[in-house]
C-alpha cells in the first residue's frame, strides 16, 4: 500500500523534488493505479518466460569502425547552461 512516506521515499530515489500538495495528490492517484495492477495476480505465470524483445533479435553485433560524428564537441555541449571548460561541462564539486 502506498502512503505519503513511501511516495516521498520513491521521489527521493527518483531525484525529483515534490511539493507537499504533489505528494498528497500522487499518493491517492498512484494507490489507485497500483490497486488496478493487482489484476495481474489473476494470471498464472509459473511456466511463462519473460519477454523483453519482441522481434526475436539477440546480441546484435556491429563492426567497430570509426565513422565521422554528425556533430562537433561544441554542438554537443551547447545545450548545457553550466560553464563550459575545455569543451567539457563543468559540474558542481562533489568532494569538498
Amino acid at each position: 500500500m502506498l502512503d505519503e512516506d513511501k511516495v516521498r521515499h520513491v521521489a527521493k530515489l527518483a531525484r525529483i523534488e515534490l511539493k507537499d500538495e504533489e505528494v498528497k495528490k500522487f499518493t491517492g492517484q498512484l494507490s489507485g493505479v497500483f490497486e488496478y495492477m493487482d489484476i495481474l495476480n489473476e494470471v498464472d505465470v509459473s511456466k511463462v518466460k519473460e519477454t523483453s524483445q519482441v522481434t526475436g533479435l539477440s546480441n546484435v553485433m556491429e563492426r567497430d569502425e570509426l565513422v565521422p560524428s554528425q556533430s562537433t564537441r561544441e554542438e554537443l555541449t551547447s545545450c548545457s547552461e553550466l560553464p563550459i571548460d575545455s569543451k567539457q561541462v563543468r559540474v558542481l564539486n562533489i568532494i569538498k
Binding site: A11, E17, E22, M37, V48, K49, T55, E81
Partner: protein, 477 residues
C-alpha cells in the same frame, strides 16, 4: 489552382512534375492554412518557414532542370517535436528541453531530408510522448479540428490535427501505446504503427525502449505507403532494426480482398467499448465481407491485462530513459543548490510536468528493491501471453480488425484528474504494442455527434503491406 494543400501526395507529386504548380506554392498553401487555423488548434510548437521555403526553392530548381526526384520531393510535412531535427528546436513539449537545439537529425528526419522533404515545423505532443490527449504539453493542449472543445488525442495530437486540417501532407509521429493510432482516429486520418524495429528510433527521445515505434500520419492509404517506404529499414545506429527486406509498399495498393481472412477479436467489442463505435467498425468489416473477405470471430483472452502490463513496464523503462535529464547536459540549472543531489532534485522537480513526475514515480517504484519481481518481472511474463494470443490468432486469420479507441474524442479536461481513466483510453491499442505487430488506424465513419471513429487493421510482424492492402480496398468501398 485552388486547394493545393488538400491534394494527395501522388497528385501533388504529379503536379510538380507537370509544372502545374511549384513546391513553393504547395508550401505557401500549407502555411496559409497554418496562419489561419493554428491559433485555434495549437497543432504546432514551432514553425520553420525560412528553411521550408529554402528547400522548396531548391526542389523547384531541380524540377526545372528535369532532375529525377523521389515522390516525396518538395512535399510539405511536419514532424512530432520528439524527433531530433538538426539546428531546429526540439522540445519534447517539456520545460526541461524548452530551449534544446539538437546537434543532429534523427534517422527518420535524415531519410526524409534525403527525399527532399519540406519541413513546415514541429508538432505538439504530450510531454515526452506520455499521454493520450496532448493535454500534458507545456505548450498547451492541441484541439480537435472537428470540435475545438475536445482533445485531438495523444500523444501525437499535433501531427494528427495538422494532417486532418491540411497543414501539411503528412506528419511523422511515434506510437508506444497508441500515440499514433488514437489521435489519428480522433481526428479522422490514417496513422500507421509499424512493427517494432521496422523504422529506426535513432534520434527520437526514448520513452519506453521496448515499445517505441515511429510512423506516418496521412489523409489516404497510398500517402501512408510512400512515407513508410521512405523511412523503413535497417539502421546501424539502432540495433533493434532487423536486416529484413523492405517490400515495395505501393504494390499492396488497389488489390482486392477476395479470400482474405479477417478476425474480429471479441474482447475489442465488449465491455467499455461504446456501442456506436463497435457497430461502426462492424459495419466497415461487413463491407469488406461483401467485397469477398471471410470474417470470423477470434479471441485474444489476455487483452484485459495489457493496460496493467504496459503501465508497469513502460514507466520502468521511461524512468530509466529520463534519468539523463538532470539539469547538467539538459535543462535549466537551478540557482544556488546545496550540493549535487540537491541540484538534481531541483532541476528535475522544476523541469518535468505532472504526468512525467507521476510516471517516473511509478517506474521507480516498480523497479525498487523488493518490488521488481512482483511487478516488472511479472508484467514481462504476462506480455509473453499477450504475444501468444496474437500468434495463435494469426494462425487462423490474415488480419485482425478492431476499434482503435473505445469512444470518440473526449472533452478537454474530462479525464485530466483521473489518470487511470485516461490510461484506459489506450486499452485497445496497447496490446498491439505489447506484441510488436503493425496496425493501421483508418477512419471508418462519423458518430451521431459529428466526431470521427476509427478502426485498426492489425497484421503479423513485418506485414505492414497487409494492413495497407485491406485499408486501400476499404477506402474505395
Amino acid at each position: 489552382m485552388a486547394d493545393l494543400e488538400k491534394l494527395s501526395i501522388v497528385d501533388a507529386a504529379k503536379g510538380l512534375r507537370e509544372k502545374k504548380f511549384s513546391s513553393e506554392e504547395l508550401t505557401r498553401a500549407c502555411f496559409s492554412v497554418i496562419n489561419s487555423r493554428n491559433k485555434d488548434l495549437n497543432a504546432f510548437i514551432s514553425l520553420d518557414e525560412e528553411n521550408a521555403y529554402k528547400t522548396a526553392k531548391e526542389v523547384d530548381d531541380k524540377f526545372a532542370k528535369s532532375e529525377n526526384l523521389p515522390v516525396l520531393a518538395g512535399i510539405p510535412a511536419s514532424i512530432k517535436d520528439l524527433l531530433n531535427t538538426k539546428g531546429v528546436k526540439t522540445t519534447c513539449a517539456s520545460p526541461i528541453l524548452k530551449d534544446f537545439v539538437p546537434p543532429y537529425d534523427a534517422t527518420v528526419v535524415e531519410k526524409l531530408k534525403a527525399n527532399h522533404m519540406v519541413m513546415l515545423g514541429k508538432t505538439n505532443l504530450d510531454e515526452f510522448a506520455c499521454g493520450g490527449s496532448t493535454e500534458h504539453s507545456c505548450f498547451g493542449v492541441t484541439k480537435n479540428p472537428y470540435d475545438l472543445t475536445r482533445v485531438a488525442g495523444g500523444s501525437s495530437g499535433g501531427s494528427a490535427a495538422a494532417v486532418a486540417s491540411n497543414m501539411g501532407f503528412y506528419s511523422i509521429g511515434t506510437d508506444t501505446g497508441g500515440s499514433i493510432r488514437l489521435p489519428a482516429s480522433f481526428c479522422g486520418v490514417y496513422g500507421l504503427k509499424v512493427t517494432y524495429g521496422r523504422v529506426s528510433r535513432y534520434g527520437v527521445t526514448a520513452m519506453a525502449s521496448s515499445w517505441d515505434t515511429i510512423g506516418p500520419f496521412a489523409r489516404n492509404v497510398s500517402d501512408i505507403s510512400y512515407v513508410l517506404q521512405a523511412i523503413a529499414g535497417k539502421d546501424r545506429r539502432d540495433s533493434t532494426t532487423p536486416d529484413k527486406d523492405v517490400p515495395d509498399y505501393s504494390s499492396f495498393l488497389d488489390k482486392d480482398v477476395k479470400g482474405l481472412k479477417i478476425g474480429l477479436p471479441k474482447e475489442y467489442f465488449g465491455e467499455g467499448v461504446q456501442k456506436e463505435t463497435a457497430d461502426m467498425v462492424k459495419a466497415a468489416v461487413a463491407k469488406l465481407e461483401k467485397a469477398g473477405a471471410q470474417v470470423v470471430e477470434v479471441s485474444l483472452p489476455y487483452t484485459k491485462y495489457a493496460v496493467a502490463v504496459y503501465y508497469i513496464t513502460m514507466p520502468a523503462e521511461l524512468s530509466a530513459n529520463l534519468e539523463r535529464f538532470d539539469g547538467i547536459r539538459y535543462g535549466k540549472a537551478p540557482k544556488d543548490p546545496d550540493n549535487l543531489t540537491d541540484f538534481y532534485f531541483k532541476a528535475r522537480g522544476a523541469g518535468f510536468g505532472e504526468e512525467i513526475k507521476r510516471r517516473i514515480m511509478m517506474g521507480t517504484y516498480v523497479l525498487s528493491a523488493g518490488y521488481y519481481d512482483a511487478y516488472y518481472k511479472k508484467a514481462q511474463k504476462v506480455r509473453t501471453l499477450i504475444i501468444e494470443d496474437f500468434n495463435k490468432a494469426f494462425e487462423k486469420v490474415d488480419v485482425l480488425i478492431a476499434p482503435v479507441s473505445p469512444f470518440p474524442a473526449f472533452k478537454i479536461g474530462e479525464l485530466l484528474d483521473d489518470p487511470l481513466a485516461m490510461y484506459m483510453a489506450d486499452a485497445l491499442t496497447i496490446p498491439i504494442n505489447a506484441a510488436g505487430v503493425p496496425s493501421l488506424a483508418c477512419p471508418c465513419g462519423m458518430s451521431a455527434g459529428g466526431l470521427p471513429i476509427g478502426m485498426q487493421i492489425i497484421a503479423p510482424q513485418f506485414e505492414e503491406g497487409r494492413c495497407l492492402k485491406v485499408a486501400s480496398c476499404f477506402e474505395k468501398l
